[in-house]
């Protein structure tokens, strides 16, 4: 069942998806999402001049295209292998998700640049302006990318030698760890959504200081620094909304970290080496992620720092899923073993 080549290819694909998410973040961070107004071609060609914003946007398209090829190969490889049916299903889901991603990416561009697409979108959703639709597509695009990532992380796990060995070890790591990591995964996914919302509503600097918020523990929502004579006026309610989602992203980070670190401490205490190592790595990544989050604010959204923050966030999500699956698998195996012992006696 174990194939070294297949597993290595799955890991390569998963790593490439993390890279792709980082490249996607660089498009948003540099404001280059509309640098190429046409799709699927770029300025009518496959290779436009790679300058300025085109470098980021077309670069993202090239990396995404490569990722789609990798996932297609992975799916075909899985379907032709003797892997269990569920692993093959994950391969197909990843393939469908990556195709949807490409369409969403294209729509995100065309909903602004193509008047027909823009009119159709505003008519379908009965909105006066296309901006909420553009934002919804961008957030969905960012979220679906994480689902693609989760699929490739799972495939990497299921095709690994460690997974086979884990089955052979049959060690019960306890329901609590499995439950805690599942909760952490759900929380981390919400955090990814909040992060996408912060990025795509341009709320990254809505709270300009860290760790405090406007010099206080909780932002003064009733007394925010509001300029009624700003050149591009937003309503006070809009300002409150931006501050609220930014603050929620901060607070939620500590919730994710709290539950995840607790789960990881329990995992480190188990006798399963794989579990222990992954849990240690998880703690290291979450500490790094919180630091990167702080530096995002301190550097006023420096592109490299923001890109790393998004990429590390994606890696944490994928790793949490792996830890959660391993947790439940250990319980299942332990139950099977107990039943076997009982039936033998």
């Amino acid at each position: 069942m174990y194939s070294k080549g297949l597993h290595r290819f799955a890991v390569l694909t998963a790593a490439f998806i993390v890279f792709l998410i980082g490249v996607g973040a660089s498009v948003t961070s540099t404001g280059s999402g509309d640098a190429v107004p046409d799709w699927p071609l770029s300025y009518g060609t496959l290779f436009p001049r790679m300058v300025g914003g085109v470098f980021y946007e077309h670069g993202h398209r090239l990396v995404a295209g490569t990722a789609a090829i990798l996932i297609t190969i992975l799916m075909i490889w899985l379907l032709r292998s003797n892997q269990p049916k569920y692993v093959k299903t994950f391969g197909v889901i990843a393939f469908v998700a990556v195709l949807l991603q490409a369409i969403l990416g294209g729509l995100r561009v065309l909903v602004i640049s193509d008047p027909e697409v823009q009119n159709t979108a505003t008519e379908i959703f009965s909105v006066g302006h296309v901006e909420p639709i553009r934002m919804a597509i961008a957030i969905t695009h960012a979220t679906l990318a994480e689902i693609v990532l989760c699929m490739t992380f799972l495939i990497s796990l299921f095709t690994s030698k460690a997974w086979v060995k884990f089955e052979a070890d049959r060690i019960d790591t306890g329901v609590r760890i499995a439950k805690l990591y599942t909760l952490t995964f759900a929380f981390a996914f919400i955090q990814i959504l909040l992060g996408a919302l912060v990025r795509h509503t341009q709320s990254g600097m809505a709270i300009p200081d860290f760790p405090l918020s406007f010099g206080k523990i909780i932002p003064p929502f009733g007394n925010l620094p509001y300029d009624p004579n700003a050149p591009f006026q937003i309503s006070y309610a809009e300002l409150q909304f931006k501050v609220a989602i930014h603050f929620a992203h901060r607070v939620w980070a500590f919730v994710v970290a709290g539950v995840g670190i607790y789960a990881s401490i329990l995992a480190i205490r188990t006798s399963v080496k794989l579990f222990r190592n992954l849990a240690k790595m998880w703690i290291s990544l979450i500490v790094l992620q919180i630091l990167l989050g702080a530096f995002v604010v301190w550097t006023k959204l420096a592109v490299l720092v923001t890109v790393l923050h998004v990429a590390v966030g994606a890696t944490i999500l994928g790793m949490t899923l792996i830890l959660s699956v391993l947790g439940w698998k250990s319980i299942k195996l332990a139950v099977e073993q107990k039943e076997l012992i009982l039936s033998n006696s």
């Binding site: 540099t30 404001g31 280059s32 999402g33 509309d34 640098a35 190429v36 107004p37 046409d38 300025y43 009518g44 436009p48 001049r49 300058v51 300025g52 914003g53 085109v54 470098f55 946007e57 561009v109 602004i112 640049s113 008047p115 823009q118 302006h129 296309v130 901006e131 300029d227 004579n229 700003a230 050149p231 591009f232 006026q233």
Partner: protein
């Protein structure tokens, strides 16, 4: 024939008399305090753009304090008080992309008036308008000499434009349903002609320094002078 000529003459007389009764609003936008050092923009991200400027950085136009202490690129317009309907001029407003730079940086345009966006550069640009009330658009102009046209349908102050290829390129359009607007230039002056007698709210808008308003009343034939003073935001 004679009848037609007389009618035209009378019409011209009525028009000139009515304009003669209108007022003119003029003034200057001053900058208080020490002028900020111009922000320097490197165009190294696109070698062709950089070469057009001899490899030297270009001064940003976000806050331009003139030599006489006045402020350039302030959009001054009648915000409230205009009555009646005004037809847009037939000639388009031109927004040119030259030297990887928008010309002009700030401009006014009427609802229904054509906006002509030109690419005078031998390289690709995209013109991305990001209005909140009008429909946004994003047009690619990969070839020199390309022209694209767009018309705004509702008043909106201001509509930002950017080139996503060259992120330093920015321009702003004030879209109005009347012709009473002006943009300050190298002397910080503005002039709004043919304003019917009445009371108006006048707003001065600057891309970085924000907005200021004044309420004025003008009488027939009067030339009113007002002044705005902006200072650096803390």
């Amino acid at each position: 024939m004679i009848k037609k000529s007389v009618s035209l003459l009378l019409l011209a007389l009525v028009v000139s008399l009515s304009f003669g009764q209108n007022a003119t609003l003029k003034g200057v936008v001053k900058f208080k305090g020490e002028a900020p050092k111009p922000r320097l923009i490197s165009m190294k991200a696109d070698r062709q753009c950089d070469a057009m400027h001899g490899g030297k950085p270009v001064e940003a136009e976000d806050v331009v304090v003139n030599q006489n202490g006045t402020l350039k690129w302030v959009f001054v317009y009648v915000k409230e008080g205009v009555k009646g309907k005004y037809n847009p001029p037939a000639e388009p407003v031109v927004l040119d992309q030259q030297g990887c730079w928008y010309h002009p940086h700030v401009f006014g345009i009427m609802v229904g008036q054509k906006l002509e966006v030109r690419n005078s550069d031998p390289l690709l640009h995209n013109i991305h308008a990001m209005p909140k009330k009008n429909k946004p658009f994003n047009i690619g102009q990969p070839v020199k000499g390309m022209k694209s046209y767009y018309t705004f349908t509702v008043p909106e102050v201001m509509v930002p434009f950017k080139c996503d290829v060259h992120p330093w390129m920015s321009a702003y359009a004030g879209v109005l349903d009347h012709p009473f607007f002006s943009v300050t230039g190298d002397k910080g002056e503005f002039e709004i002609k043919n304003l019917p007698p009445g009371t108006y709210t006048i707003e001065a808008w600057h891309a970085k320094l924000g907005t200021q308003v004044q309420t004025i009343t003008v009488k027939a034939g009067e030339t009113k002078t007002i002044e705005f003073t902006f200072e650096r935001k803390k």
